[in-house]
Subunit: 422 residues, 2 copies
């Protein structure tokens, strides 16, 4: 056993029923008829969910504050001043989202604070829970505007003119949301914590597949996105011999075959997805003159991202001939590696609490990506049923949510008390 007695007591004080009750209560804000959640950032549903969270926090006497990106902070004071240990995630959802993505990390964080309180513990450093604004990018794209503003990754003003599909401005929605809770203390952006630990559902099938309870997340894999547009000639499907066609759909077919070959990986670590396809004129009896598709390519190793990613354009162009192919890179995000010490702390805490645990890189983005740029950061994953997320059927069992929260509470206590150093 390497975790402290205090950490163990905090973990044992986690109240699984209270946590589950709060998750189900929050799922009412933006509830969908199919059991999922549609809670766009800075919407009325988001504002109501924030009010509920603030109520829970203030009832326990935690100090609540907000920064100009509308990131919400709940602070449980420590014995001394100085940077806090931060946990949290986000409260917004995808339009067809579920009840756990993001909000699980916020409510797990709040439950950890309550458990620490109920265990009668004091900590050296303060522990804070953050709810970042707009992680999903479902209403205002890109996502992670809250954590990017907070971490300094981007100038917050650069997001002001983002518009949602109804033409509402991001800056206006932000101000409206801030005006709903004028009593809150304000805090500056860029106030770096001593460490950041984010609890999140895995959003993939690995933990379930291996029947494990916890993942200590080693980093966030790198991502390259491309938009491909293939141009051929439209023609009548009945009249034009195949040899005389420049069929954009068939060119896309050849390009995907070439990409499948390029991305082949016996170890199944490469993530390669064609998720979006659009065809014009998209008529059953017309040969297509346009086919557009997206490439999402991810890998934890930068060298692989570079080698294979740099080969995408030529592979597509060559395969698409005699059609013309344009390949536009739209995103290149380097792999992030969380520091070994903080990953090890989480892994050890899980073992000491008798949970089965593995190390796993995150396939998805998280606010932790931006936190990791300003402080030691890691994440805790809990299993997603059928690997589903961004889906109304997204589900993580109460015992898995509680287990992740226990690991989180123990980790936060040891970090806050300097028993574990990063």
């Amino acid at each position: 056993m390497t975790i402290s007695d205090d950490a163990l007591r905090a973990a044992q004080a986690v109240n699984a029923e209270r946590l589950w009750g709060r998750l189900m209560r929050m799922a009412e804000f933006g509830a969908r008829p199919d059991g999922g959640v549609d809670r766009p950032c800075l919407s009325a549903e988001d504002q109501n969910a924030r009010a509920e969270l603030i109520g829970w926090a203030e009832a326990r006497g935690y100090q609540v504050s907000v920064d100009r990106a509308a990131n919400l902070f709940i602070r449980r004071a420590g014995r001394r001043d100085g940077p806090a240990i931060l946990t949290g995630s986000h409260m917004d959802s995808q339009p067809k989202g579920g009840r756990f993505d993001g909000i699980g990390g916020v409510l797990g964080g709040l439950e950890a604070l309550d458990a620490i309180s109920e265990a009668g513990l004091e900590t050296d450093r303060a522990i804070e829970v953050v709810a970042f604004t707009n992680e999903e990018g479902g209403r205002f794209s890109p996502g992670c505007t809250g954590s990017m503003s907070w971490s300094g990754a981007r100038d917050p003003a650069s997001f002001d003119d983002l518009e949602d599909e109804n033409g509402a401005r991001y800056a206006d929605a932000l101000n409206e949301t801030l005006s709903k809770a004028p009593e809150l203390a304000t805090r500056p952006l860029g106030d770096a914590p001593a460490a950041y630990v984010e609890l999140h559902i895995e959003q993939g099938p690995v933990l379930e597949e291996k029947a494990l309870q916890i993942a200590a997340v080693t980093g966030i894999q790198g991502v390259r996105w491309y938009d491909v547009e293939i141009t051929g000639d439209t023609a009548h499907a009945g009249t034009t011999p195949l040899a005389l066609r420049r069929d954009a759909v068939q060119a896309m077919h050849r390009a995907i075959a070439a990409l499948n070959a390029l991305m082949a990986d016996p170890d199944d670590v490469v993530r390669f997805t064609v998720g979006r396809i659009e065809v014009e004129p998209n008529s059953p009896n017309a040969v297509a003159d346009k086919a557009r598709f997206t490439i999402d390519f991810r890998h934890p190793d930068r060298a692989v991202l570079e080698q294979r990613g740099n080969a995408v354009e030529e592979a597509v162009r060559k395969a698409a001939e005699p059609c013309r192919a344009e390949v536009r890179p739209s995103l290149f995000s380097d792999p992030t590696h969380f520091p070994e010490p903080i990953v090890a702390i989480i892994e050890q805490a899980a073992r000491d609490l008798d949970f089965s645990v593995m190390r796993l890189p995150s396939g998805a983005f998280h606010d932790a990506l931006f936190a990791s740029q300003i402080c030691p950061t890691a994440m805790i994953f809990v299993p997603s049923r059928n690997g589903l997320s961004h889906h109304p059927d997204e589900y993580t069992a109460p015992e898995h949510m509680a287990a992740g929260t226990q690991v989180l509470a123990a980790t936060l206590v040891d970090l806050a008390n300097g028993n574990a150093t990063v």
Copy 2:
């Protein structure tokens, strides 16, 4: 020379400039800014085009009548009563259509009547020009409702409740169009002519490719359509290992590969087209759980249509595994073979008029498909530049339109006078 002197005189009287002028005038009804035509059937543009045509016909003293399917008939009387020789086509266009498809056959027919008149000829049988309603199916689907109603292929009332994308009913649009020309004589449906000859643009590249002027069309190839729906599981593109996915886009990719193999034809006679693709959720970072696509498969030989068409479902299902594939046949139209005598008449008329000519099956549907069910039928094709049709850039040169009309005029005269028998 086997065509009659009268037929030759009629052909020589064709006025290429008048024909071109009328084509360009008609292109104003529903003109698109890109030079194409958008003239939905039974629309205001169609009604105005009909009024223009009626004006031209009545100015020459031809008798104009209409049936309850709003098919418009222009009759140049013959020496005796009885079934006429019919020519014509349709006046409606695709939404992004051109200036020649359909209307070329109607105005070519009218020009043939005028040429016969100006050559001072009488014919035994009457010669009629028909403008069939809704060949394209662009506004009310299916197409060919006019020629199907006329030929008895379908009960005209069965089309009454078709709706366009704005919810307008076919029967209402039909009645509104009929009410615009209340003075017209009415005629019954199903009045079979002695023969039907349709002039049309090729809508394919073969004549241009071979630098020929005329095709004597041997029939209309058979068509089988299928709607395929593949169902997999959606998943996060970043988190889900490829081996654990049931990716509907990749299953579609394998299905198209299997279909390409099934449809391979060294003679390049098979027409196989995937023209329409839809993916859900169609998001760059989500593995697709639905992929829908259409199959358009055509061949002049029924045995080939049966053998390969019957193999489509199993090929798709097998290739799509572990995803589920539903394959729904949505159309099966037998190949139509025009009678040899009438094809031979057209071919000979072209030769006698010193035009280069070949025989060619039609890859596309035409009103002639339904005419052929009630009378000897054939078609005359003229070249399409770049094989384009259903496209604003659709183009057939004035000399090609005139050549086709000369062959048509000669053929009509000899058919009407019994110099050529079918």
